[in-house]
């Protein structure tokens, strides 16, 4: 087989991978067994398909082949030792004999909820979702999170063992916990995006691959959850952040603030996509935190320049966001919006009560410093910038803060 033909087949298989895996996991109740069986089925496909042609329904072919490989494996295990669970499962698999009328979408949902189960550590949830649902290899995930492949592989193996040994079920949660668990799934996807968008350490301000993967997962969520308003909000929020990617750094790799960004470099297509999704989310009933954050991002994205930003509208949206999500960080963002809508002193006043809660948060000190600078309170501004600098761990952001300190000092 030519290299091209093989690559083409592999990309065709990649497209179906998560779906086939989801189905096989439901049939064999064991993620590791399902993954091993699917890998063997894929090996077989790469040998057979170039000769016989790609089957009409490749996904069904792969499910059948993986299931047969699983049956072989279970027979082998059962003959070694009469493992009661394996024998029971074997009986079930034989009895089903390939008839399966559960919609494959349900299988995918089950698998997604398992990967995002709150009994797993957060970093394990993120890695597992990227691998199992996003179809990434362990080494790709390791690179994106700046850890060694060994560390990442161990993390994934540990998570899968916990799923198996602690009895984490493959199921869609019941109505009483559904909302909370869907929140958890969205949070995992947004974590992937944020890790890519504002890397907390290292040189790269944007690890773009992760953003792309998060958006792909976000699209899958929106489809799986049938156009759910918060899933639309999450996807909108990611598109609207992503649209500014090219303008967030200057040629030297330094951070450029929203107000100073060259808006011609914002991706109009992505803004349109994000804005359409915000509209859709807002039509779905009372907006949740993601839809509100996306709506705020959309107001910024659709302002022709920084000066014509509709700040009163943004303050209103923050009021609603604060009611839905009463955290000090939301309150800080609201205070910044307030400063532009009603004056810098008003904004500074709104920040006063947040000093205790956000004492260790560098963006609090940076935001306060910016307002102090605008009010002409240079000494206080420098002190706040220095506090921010001491707490900040991102290289690009540190360079930005140093430049600001130098500029404020230069003026006094």
């Amino acid at each position: 087989m030519s290299v091209d033909a093989r690559a083409e087949l592999q990309s065709l298989i990649r497209e179906h991978h998560a779906w086939v895996l989801a189905r096989v996991v439901r049939q064999v109740h064991d993620l590791e067994l399902a993954e091993d069986s699917l890998s063997r089925a894929i090996e077989a496909a790469l040998v057979q398909w170039p000769e016989t042609g790609v089957p009409e329904a490749p996904r069904a072919w792969l499910v059948r082949a993986a299931r047969n490989k699983a049956i072989d494996e279970l027979r082998r295990r059962a003959s070694w030792a009469q493992k009661s669970r394996d024998v029971t499962l074997l009986g079930e698999l034989d009895a089903e004999a390939g008839t399966d009328d559960v919609p494959i979408r349900d299988d995918m949902l089950r698998l997604l909820f398992t990967c995002c189960h709150p009994a797993l550590a957060e970093d394990a949830r993120v890695a597992l979702t990227l691998q199992v649902v996003g179809g990434l290899q362990a080494d790709e995930i390791a690179r994106a999170f700046l850890v060694s492949t060994t560390t990442m592989s161990q993390r994934l193996v540990r998570a899968k063992r916990k799923i198996r040994d602690a009895g984490v079920p493959y199921r869609v949660p019941g109505p009483d916990e559904f909302g909370e668990r869907v929140d958890g799934v969205r949070a995992v996807v947004y974590l992937v995006f944020n890790e890519g968008y504002s890397a907390t350490h290292g040189e790269a301000l944007v690890r773009h691959d992760l953003c792309r993967h998060a958006i792909r997962l976000g699209e899958a969520l929106l489809e799986l959850f049938d156009g759910d308003g918060e899933c639309a909000g999450l996807l909108a929020l990611m598109w609207l952040h992503e649209s500014r990617r090219a303008a967030r750094q200057d040629a030297a790799g330094d951070l450029v603030l929203l107000a100073d960004q060259d808006r011609d470099r914002w991706d109009r297509g992505q803004i349109e996509r994000g804005t359409a999704l915000v509209t859709m989310a807002l039509r779905r009933g009372p907006p949740g935190p993601y839809a509100l954050q996306a709506a705020i991002a959309a107001v910024h994205a659709n302002a022709p320049d920084a000066a014509s930003t509709d700040w009163p509208q943004i303050v209103l949206l923050y009021d609603r966001l604060l009611a839905a999500m009463p955290t000090p960080i939301v309150a800080l963002n609201r205070a910044v919006a307030l400063a532009f809508a009603r004056g810098h002193e008003v904004g500074l006043g709104a920040m006063d009560s947040l000093g205790d809660a956000l004492a260790e948060y560098f963006l609090f000190h940076a935001a306060r410093a910016d307002l102090l600078r605008r009010c002409g309170r240079a000494d206080e501004a420098v002190r706040a910038y220095e506090r921010a600098l001491a707490l900040c761990r991102n290289d690009a952001e540190q360079r930005f803060l140093r430049a600001r300190i130098a500029a404020v000092r230069g003026r006094t």
Partner: protein
């Protein structure tokens, strides 16, 4: 699957409860135990005497060493347990969430190892 639900609570916090609080807590435990019994989930369950009654034993080089107290000093102490039968972790967690001490202490949920 069987799960062991280990109930941890700070004994000093427990000591500050009034008699009325204790009565209410006891009644809650009675109701909880009755509910998992009638649901066929209960295998065993007990409350333990406080950690000051604990003795920890180790054998090293053939010698038996005994110390007064728990094996490690922790902020919260093991105060009791339930052994339950549950369909899966979610089922076990939903049982654990109904243990009265979940609101004040911590419940550790551990699957029981199955030897096959």
């Amino acid at each position: 699957m069987q799960f062991l639900l280990l109930i941890y609570e700070s004994e000093s916090a427990q000591a500050t409860r009034t008699e009325g609080d204790n009565h209410a807590m006891f009644a809650e435990y009675m109701a909880f135990t009755a509910s998992i019994k009638s649901a066929g989930k209960m295998i065993a369950g007990d409350a333990l005497q406080p950690v000051e009654t604990a003795t920890t034993l180790r054998i090293r080089d053939g010698k038996t060493l005994m110390t007064d107290g728990p094996f490690a000093e922790t902020k919260e102490q093991l105060g009791g347990y339930y052994l339950v039968e549950a369909n899966d972790l979610d089922d076990a967690l939903s049982i654990a969430a109904r243990i009265p001490t979940a609101k004040t202490g911590s419940i550790e949920v551990r699957p029981v190892m199955v030897w096959t």
